[in-house]
Amino acid sequence: MPEMSDTLGRLKEILITRLKLKIGADQIKEDTTLFGPDGLGLDSIDVLELVVGIKKEFGVEIVDRQTAEKVFTSVAAIVKYIEDNR
């Protein structure tokens, strides 16, 4: 689905540029998790930064912590949330 991969590409761009991750886009997969040493290793401040980035780039709001906890499980889950709420 081209739309899906486009969202994924833009999300990777946000992750790398806004959060200044020192990795290449090809190292971020759909099943990559956001937290912990096996994932992107984000912290709570990064999450808030990501919320702002997603709002600016896609116009999709994540309004509360409960939603954030559901959405920020993996890269694929974020892409799905953006697609479903755009």
Partner: protein
Amino acid sequence: MTDPYPLPSTILPHSYPFILIDKIIELAGDKQIVCLKNVTINEEFFSGHFRENPVMPGVLIIEAMAQASGLIVGNEHATMTYLSRVNDAKFKRPVIPGDQLIIKSSVIQKFPPLHIFEAVAYVNDEVVSEAEITLTIM
């Protein structure tokens, strides 16, 4: 005439000599604030920054922005506030003794305890500094 807004010192956990906001000029609910700081030659930091060429340190402008931002939330309930992140800070021209610093800050995202603010500081309607400030507000 009574000022419609409370003194910053009654809201902020800060005290002398570290209150960098003199007064609140405008407060739009829990969203936006405009504050004033009169920068005088008597500020202690001017004796060393710099002796021959007094300039307000950029980090103190950031601190003033953080305090203005903290006042938005602090006006609603008592808080303890910590600076958590500063993004995209710019200092466009020096702030010197005699300048009246006007600081505007707006909440752009909140996820308690984290709050992100967009802050801009002006002197004579000219932008002197801007930054995105993240505070942890307990």
